[in-house]
C-alpha cells in the first residue's frame, strides 16, 4: 500500500483528503504544521507528499526545496497545490514534481497522484 503524506494548514482540507485517499486505498498521514513535515517523513516514510504552497508561518516551496536538497528525501515525489493558480509558475524552481490548483476535482487529483506513484514504481 503506497503511503501519502498531506501537508496543509487547513484542517478541513486535511480531513477530507485523509478520507478520500484512504478510500482510494492509500495509507495516509496528515499534518497542518510545516515544521512537522520532516519528523513525519522520518517516521512515516511516505512514497508521495502533497504539499500546500502557503502554510501558516511557512512557505511550502521552501520546504520542498529542503526536501529536494536532502539525499534522504530527494527521491520522494512532491505535488504542490494552491488556491493561487499563479503559484504554478513558481514551483519548478523549488524542485516540485507537479502542481494542482485548488479547487481540484477528484479525478484530476487521482490522475496526478497515480502518475507520480507510477513514475516512482518504474
Amino acid at each position: 500500500m503506497s503511503r501519502i503524506l498531506v501537508v496543509d494548514d487547513d484542517i478541513d482540507i486535511l480531513s477530507v483528503m485523509e478520507i478520500l485517499l484512504s478510500m482510494k486505498g492509500f495509507d495516509v498521514e496528515v499534518t497542518s504544521k510545516g515544521e512537522n513535515t520532516f519528523p513525519k517523513i522520518d517516521s512515516f516514510k511516505p512514497d508521495l507528499i502533497l504539499l500546500d504552497v502557503l502554510i501558516s508561518g511557512h512557505d511550502g516551496r521552501t520546504i520542498c526545496k529542503q526536501l529536494k536538497a536532502n539525499k534522504e528525501t530527494k527521491h520522494i515525489p512532491v505535488i504542490m497545490f494552491s488556491a493561487h493558480p499563479g503559484a504554478a509558475a513558481t514551483i519548478a524552481d523549488y524542485g516540485a514534481d507537479d502542481f494542482i490548483a485548488k479547487p481540484f476535482d477528484v479525478a484530476h487529483l487521482m490522475k496526478k497522484v497515480n502518475a507520480q506513484l507510477g513514475i516512482k514504481k518504474n
Binding site: I13, V16, M23, H84, A89, K102
Partner: protein
C-alpha cells in the same frame, strides 16, 4: 499601466499655433482647475498652465521642452514615450496613465488625455493635453483587486472540501445502487463546478486589472484546439448541434488554456442566448496574415446600440428578456483581453431575433526563417 490609444479621426477645429497663443487662451487655461499642457509640432512641450505648475511645484522654464519628463516616474517614462510617439506619428488622440511627481516629492497617478491640434489650414501643430489626478481611484481599485483575490482564495478552500465530499457521497451511493441519489450528488458537483468557474472569473478580472494575468506561450493548431473545444461543449449540450465550417491549416502562438477559456465562453454564450434554437455554427477562415473564428447563433440577438458596449466589464444588456439570463457581465471582457494579448481583435455583429456572430482574429505564427 492602463493605456488606450483611440482610433478617431483628428478633430478639424483650429487652435492657436505656438507663437499665437493669445491672451484669452492663457486666461482660460490658467483658470482651469485641471492640469493642462501644450506641445508643438517638434514634440516638445512649450506651455503648462498654472494648475500644472502648482501641482509639480516647478517653473515654466523647468518644465518646458523635455524638462517635465524629470517628474514622470522612471518606470512609466518608456511607456509614455511609446504611446506619445505612436499617437504623434498618426496625429491621433491618446490617453495614458502614469505617475507624476507632485510638489511634495510624492508620485501620484494621473490620467493624461492628449488631443492633436491643427491650424486653420489644417496643418498639424502639436498637442494640447489635460491631466487629472486619479491616485485615489487607483488606490481604491488596487484595494478592490486585493479584496477580490483574497475573497476568491478564501472561497476556494471550502469549495475544494465540498467538491471532494460530494464526490465521496456520489461514489458511496453508486456502489450501493442508489442511482437516483447518486445522480443528485452528481448534480451538486456540477453546481460546485459552476461556483468554481465564477470564482475563477472574478480572479481573472482582478488579475487583468492589476496586469498580472499569466500567459504560457506555445505554438499550436487553432483548428485542432477549436475542434477539441467543440467536442467538449457538445458532450455537455443536448439542445444544440455545433457545426464547424471551414478549416485553418497554419499554427498560432498563444496560451492554449486561456484561448480555450475565451472560445468556451463565446460558445456557452451562444447556447445561453439561443434557447429554443438548435444550431450553433463555428466558421473558420485564414489568410496569409491571420486566422479568424466566428461563432454564430440564431437566438435573441443584440441591439446595435449595445453592440459597442458588450465587451466592457460588468456590462449587461438591459431589457426584460436579457436580464433573465444569468452571468456576472465579465465573460466577454475577459475574452477580449485574452484575444488582445494574442495580438488579435474581437468584435460582434448581430441582427436582433435572427443571428449573432462573434468573430475573433489571431495572427498566424511565422517562423523566423519565413
Amino acid at each position: 499601466m492602463d493605456i488606450e490609444q483611440l482610433d478617431k479621426e483628428p478633430p478639424t477645429i483650429s487652435l492657436p499655433l505656438v507663437a499665437q497663443i493669445d491672451e484669452q487662451f492663457m486666461v482660460m487655461a490658467n483658470s482651469a482647475p485641471i492640469l493642462l499642457w501644450a506641445s508643438g509640432s517638434d514634440k516638445l512641450a512649450f506651455f503648462f498652465n498654472k494648475a500644472w505648475l502648482q501641482y509639480t511645484g516647478r517653473t515654466m522654464e523647468e518644465e518646458a521642452g523635455d524638462g517635465w519628463y524629470e517628474g514622470v516616474h522612471p518606470s512609466d517614462l518608456e511607456k509614455y514615450f511609446k504611446v506619445y510617439n505612436e499617437a504623434f506619428d498618426k496625429k491621433k488622440e491618446f490617453k495614458i496613465e502614469y505617475r507624476l511627481r507632485r510638489f511634495d516629492g510624492k508620485y501620484r497617478w494621473v490620467l493624461d488625455n492628449g488631443q492633436p491640434h491643427f491650424t486653420k489650414d489644417k496643418i498639424f501643430a502639436g498637442y494640447i493635453g489635460s491631466c487629472i489626478d486619479i491616485h485615489e481611484i487607483k488606490e481604491l481599485e488596487g484595494r478592490k483587486n486585493q479584496f477580490i483575490t483574497a475573497a476568491s482564495h478564501e472561497l476556494k478552500t471550502p469549495v475544494t472540501s465540498l467538491s471532494i465530499y460530494l464526490h465521496l457521497i456520489a461514489e458511496f451511493l453508486k456502489s450501493n445502487q442508489e442511482e437516483k441519489y447518486a445522480a443528485y450528488a452528481e448534480s451538486a458537483i456540477t453546481q460546485v463546478n459552476k461556483i468554481t468557474g465564477l470564482i475563477n472569473q472574478l480572479l481573472d478580472l482582478s488579475r487583468i486589472e492589476s496586469d498580472s494575468l499569466n500567459f504560457e506561450w506555445s505554438v499550436f493548431s487553432l483548428y485542432e484546439l477549436v475542434n477539441s473545444i467543440v467536442d467538449k461543449i457538445q458532450s455537455t449540450t443536448l439542445s444544440h448541434k455545433i457545426e464547424i465550417k471551414g478549416k485553418c491549416r497554419g499554427n498560432i502562438e498563444g496560451d492554449k488554456e486561456r484561448l480555450s477559456q475565451a472560445i468556451e465562453n463565446l460558445l456557452t454564450n451562444a447556447i445561453k442566448f439561443s434557447q429554443g434554437h438548435n444550431k450553433i455554427t463555428v466558421e473558420l477562415f485564414e489568410n496569409t496574415k491571420y486566422m479568424q473564428v466566428s461563432i454564430v447563433d440564431f437566438g435573441i440577438g443584440i441591439d446595435k446600440f449595445h453592440l459597442p458596449k458588450i465587451f466592457e466589464r460588468f456590462y449587461r444588456i438591459p431589457g426584460q428578456k436579457e436580464e433573465t439570463f444569468p452571468g456576472l457581465g465579465i465573460g466577454l471582457f475577459i475574452s477580449q483581453q485574452i484575444i488582445k494579448k494574442h495580438g488579435g481583435k474581437i468584435w460582434a455583429e448581430s441582427i436582433q431575433n435572427k443571428e449573432t456572430k462573434f468573430n475573433f482574429q489571431i495572427p498566424i505564427f511565422k517562423k523566423m526563417s519565413d
